[in-house]
């Protein structure tokens, strides 16, 4: 499989290439880092405030939501940090994707599309980002690459 079917486009404004050179290689790592980092406050929220802190966990309608909130909070905090650092990128992305799928089909899908009514818009985005990390792995700037082995 050829890695470059087409060459990188030429910059219309040549000076722009000087700006692209340091930033373009960081693009994927930035996506992966932001995806992981955005889960961290949710993990902290569930672990410190319990199930009642997250109305979407309450919307699951569980008889005893506390242990579930604890498990989800732990997944979000630990996997969020690991995804941000690119450590075991694919397994943690898979775990977060499964959690998001459960939340989307158990809660958000009943609220429609728009994020500000609790719909699937935002969790679908996070799911897509986790799937992207599952496809791509850690990438160039990740602990997986530093270690030299990855799932």
């Amino acid at each position: 499989m050829t890695e470059n079917a087409l060459p990188t486009p030429k910059p219309i404004i040549p000076i722009c290439a000087a700006i692209h050179r340091p930033f373009a290689p960081l693009s994927y790592a930035f996506i992966r880092f932001c995806t992981g980092a955005i889960f961290i406050p949710h993990g902290v929220q569930k672990l410190s405030g319990g199930a009642a802190a997250d109305k979407f966990v309450m919307a699951l309608g569980l008889a005893d939501p506390a242990p579930w909130a604890g498990a989800m909070g732990t997944i979000e905090l630990v996997c969020g940090i690991m995804l941000a650092l690119g450590l075991l990128t694919r397994p943690v992305a898979l775990l977060l994707a499964v959690e998001l799928l459960v939340m989307i089909f158990a809660v958000h899908i009943h609220n429609g599309f728009a994020w500000n009514s609790g719909g699937i818009q935002y969790p679908a985005m996070l799911l897509a980002l986790c799937i992207a990390a599952l496809f791509r792995g850690g990438g160039r700037y990740s602990l997986d690459r530093f270690i030299g082995k990855e799932f």
Partner: protein, 159 residues
């Protein structure tokens, strides 16, 4: 001139612990960046459709644009409307990816800091995290450009 490392076209990888998965990674990996770009655009597009075809442009001109503190709210509302509709189509196709991504990042920054910031972080309370995430992704596209699967790459020129 040294070539720009294109992270959207992964050519090197860490050794997979499960070797059987290497083929899947080699096939799926290159689509990752385009997938993020297309999904991000697809999630912004319904907002553009609502503003352009369902009167949303007048709704935001009377609401959020004023709340964000802009004078000439109708002009800014149209700018937002056009950016969200045509901009998200261009972002999905990877056409003029960087200029569109920069414009959208600015829009999302305004939405984050001028509209939702007061409601806190969490989206359950109408906080800013979704707008922030869209802003960060647009910044990533501004850095990375169209990538391997984009009209920019097909055309051979980009900003």
């Amino acid at each position: 001139m040294t070539a720009i490392i294109d992270e959207t076209c992964p050519s090197d990888g860490a050794k997979p612990i499960i070797p059987a998965l290497a083929g899947f990674y080699r096939c799926a990996g290159p689509f990752s960046y385009a997938f993020v770009r297309i999904v991000t655009a697809a999630l912004i597009l319904p907002g553009g459709i609502e503003k352009l075809f369902y009167g949303g442009v007048y709704r935001i001109a009377a609401g959020n644009v004023v709340k964000a503190g802009f004078s000439e709210p109708l002009a800014w509302a149209w700018a937002v409307c056009i950016l969200e509709f045509f901009g998200s189509l261009m972002l999905a196709a990877g056409l003029l990816t960087r200029p569109v991504a920069v414009a959208m990042a600015v829009e999302m920054a305004v939405i984050t800091f001028r509209i939702h910031f007061g409601a806190g972080f969490f989206w359950a309370d109408h906080g800013y995290e979704f707008a922030l995430m869209l802003m960060l992704m647009c910044l990533a596209f501004a850095a990375g450009g169209g990538g391997r699967y984009s009209l920019d790459r097909l055309i051979g020129w980009e900003f």
